[in-house]
Symmetry: C2
Subunit: 268 residues, 2 copies
């Protein structure tokens, strides 16, 4: 169903497996070799592409993330329900400086500090991006019923059971119960919530009379939002994406295609 | 109880009633002549002070706001429950350009566009400030039980009944029931929510390793936050302010005193 888009992503990801990479970027794999899908690593991938830094991607299955991050001395980013540290991707290992950085926000701050050319956030006002992260929670929450079960179905066997157990624990229900049956009243109601949540984000841009959060040009805040558009396009049913792509004057579809062209190295 | 602080505010406000003002700033009065208290007009007052623009303040009681705004051709900012337009302050009337602008966000955008010197937001990324507004909703909601009844008590008779009727309708309870009895379990529980909400804002600044939203210097986002600190200091019981002022390393008390010194025209 998502075949053409996924194949295109294989091509895009492979195009970045360049030999002189000085940064190793750790992402989460899917059933399709080289096909990425997860919104949090996408924030870092877009940041590396935006800055034009040479990197290669290492894919790590969910049960292996803790061991891989710990082995490199990376910091945990969350706490498990029982209080123990929880390790997540994205992570980068900068072979030039030796730095190992976890959490997409910390990585963005690190990249701008270490490689000031082509800043992700020319103002340096990263506290406003932290506020944006909080303000986007309703967007992320609204996508849960659609995006989480669809992501779980896309995973390899090595990750699939782990992801199911963790997310079902978090939401207190099964993947099957979380997902609204296509065409059902619940499907329409939950999808309407998704549109409302993105409508609020559209309203912030309209209020500022801005094409992007960065004004006339994209900044890290736009890449951050684009990572969720990417998730919608990559994992949700194709008819959902076709609808989503029309919302708010096509703003989100335009943003994603622009950011992905940037990842491709094509002229903007 | 708030005597010294309020008297100081009288002095500060009067010091801005200068004869060569080219901007008229519309604010909401209290029982104390020249003493302002409302957080939304404070955003605009701080913006005018930050930019060093000459203005004079006109005080309008709540029941008169709609008429005063309409008479100048100002736009409504909200909708009433029945769908009719609702008019609010702040408003500015720029006597140089003839512009009449309502809503603190729109006023900030207008001021930076019309008077580019000393920009409120050097990056121009006002869509991020719109996201900050959304992200601060938990802060504002947490302050409601303390701030709304205390504000109502501070108003002149002309505004007091109007404010009570509107806000009691909005929250579905009386001012007296909204306000937690000092020293009660509910008082402690609601106050803990206020601290949690401000803790999230502190965490955004800590994550960005930033003293202010503007980094090393204040920008409009800092003035926006300072307006709520001002509300806490001006209307809440003095013991609440004494506690609040110690939170997060004294960050909020420091921010307010810095912004108020700016309003005074004192050296920073």
């Amino acid at each position: 169903m998502r075949g053409n888009w996924l194949l295109r992503r294989v091509f895009l990801c492979n195009s970045h497996a360049i030999m002189d990479a000085t940064i190793v970027f750790y992402d989460i794999p899917s059933q399709h070799p080289g096909v990425t899908w997860s919104p949090n690593p996408a924030k870092t991938r877009y940041a590396l592409d935006f800055k034009g830094l040479a990197y290669r991607t290492e894919y790590v299955e969910y049960p292996d993330i803790e061991g891989v991050v710990k082995a490199l001395g990376g910091a945990p980013t969350e706490k498990k329900p029982d209080g123990r540290p929880h390790y997540t991707l994205p992570m980068i290992h900068d072979l030039t400086t030796g730095a190992v950085v976890t959490d997409s926000f910390n990585i963005a701050v690190y990249l701008d500090k270490t490689y000031p050319a082509k800043p992700l956030l020319p103002s340096g006002d990263f506290a406003l991006v932290a506020a944006l992260q909080a303000a986007l929670q309703p967007v992320i929450i609204s996508l849960v019923p659609f995006g989480i079960p669809a992501s779980q179905r896309l995973l390899n066997a090595a990750s699939s059971g782990y992801y199911r157990a963790r997310l079902e624990g978090m939401f207190g229900t099964t993947m099957e119960a979380l997902f609204p049956a296509p065409g059902s009243d619940r499907d329409r109601a939950e999808w309407a919530k998704v549109k409302d949540a993105w409508g609020a984000v559209d309203a912030w841009l309209v209020a500022a009379n801005a094409r992007y959060f960065g004004g006339a040009e994209r900044n890290y805040a736009d890449l951050y939002v684009a990572a969720y558009v990417f998730w919608v396009k990559t994992v949700l049913a194709e008819e959902k994406w076709r609808d989503f792509a029309t919302w708010h004057g096509g703003r989100w579809a335009h943003l994603l295609s622009t950011v992905e062209r940037e990842a491709d190295g094509a002229p903007q």
